[in-house]
Symmetry: C2
Subunit: 202 residues, 2 copies
Amino acid sequence: MPKDRAPTRIQKKNRAAILEAALNVFSAHGFRGATVDQIAAEAGLSKPNLLYYFPSKEAIHTALLSGLLDTWLAPLHELDADGDPMEEILSYIRRKLQMSRELPRESRLFANELVQGAPRIHEALSNDLKALVDDKTTILTQWMDEGKIARLHPYHLIFSIWALTQHYADFDVQVRAILGNEDPFAGAEPFIDTLYRKLLKP
Amino acid sequence: MPKDRAPTRIQKKNRAAILEAALNVFSAHGFRGATVDQIAAEAGLSKPNLLYYFPSKEAIHTALLSGLLDTWLAPLHELDADGDPMEEILSYIRRKLQMSRELPRESRLFANELVQGAPRIHEALSNDLKALVDDKTTILTQWMDEGKIARLHPYHLIFSIWALTQHYADFDVQVRAILGNEDPFAGAEPFIDTLYRKLLKP
DNA sequence: TCTTGATTTGACCATCTGGTCAAACTCACG
DNA sequence: CGTGAGTTTGACCAGATGGTCAAATCAAGA
């Protein structure tokens, strides 16, 4: 392992290549289903070379997840208490749907982890995610109290947004098996927009 | 392997125990993450004994999936063209949500398979599922044409129901991390009911 | 160019995993 | 209770897999 000085050009390049490859492999096969050889091959490195940059398979997975957590939570972070309620929520939904379209591997990485009980990110869920959601549901409840949006269970409102948007990334095969050649997001965007306009109208 | 006569008492008992154990293990770890030893231990059998009843790990998984597919599609099958549109759809949703609550392992079994690209059930998706969904969306479209429910993209309407109901089984850890001790389904049922009443009102 | 730390690799290891097999055991029934 | 089919298992195997290591190669600054 290199010293903990500033990373060299090669270190930067290879670490990035490894994380990119790991994202492909872990999101497609889950932690257990991914092999170090597979990730190394995809990154264009030999297995020992890969393990020169990360001490273990687990370490790659952890680095990947914690590196992506911020990206993953960013859309909700942006929900602004001072903005127009309906517009804020609909923008949040649009950002989430856009992430499903543009970052489906990231979505499936988390989906894989969650569906198997989140053994490696349980803590992040109960701390970071829980805190963020609590913060934002306070805003939602406020808006409901002020009559700006319909009164609903705020947690389930958030869950519904996650479910509806991430579904298109996580269960992409199923969606495509049914839609055929039709672009999933072409129909999804107006559908979900309509849904929340109707749901949230006070 | 036993002859293909009628199964003996022991065969029935052990095959059932194996499938039950396999459901536990596959739904919690995915196909690749599950081991034959684990399934055998959970079923109270030795590994060779388990492989006396099923020729391979793959065969157990296949038997499990195809045995559960009917159960899984049953709620949608029941959607009746002659019933009251709003009531038919809301009942379908209630049945799906009930399955999430009562059969979360089954839900996660399919979720695991889907999120990893459904390598073992791709055919069932494009055939059985696609046909069933096409059949039922025809009914939905008919109801829309008759002005009985709001006009929406019928496929995305179905997707939304799957997403919203299965979310509670598939991402159970996440839901519970945020809700704490609150029963997820206590809030989910009225929330989803309200959502679809508002969405579908013509 | 030389040197030294950074990088890369072939060979190797222990463990895990799916699967096999012959021998031993059990059970139902005549 | 004897017998043959049905059931169970310990021992074993081959290949996959995560990880190690010493030796070889490379790159950049003095």
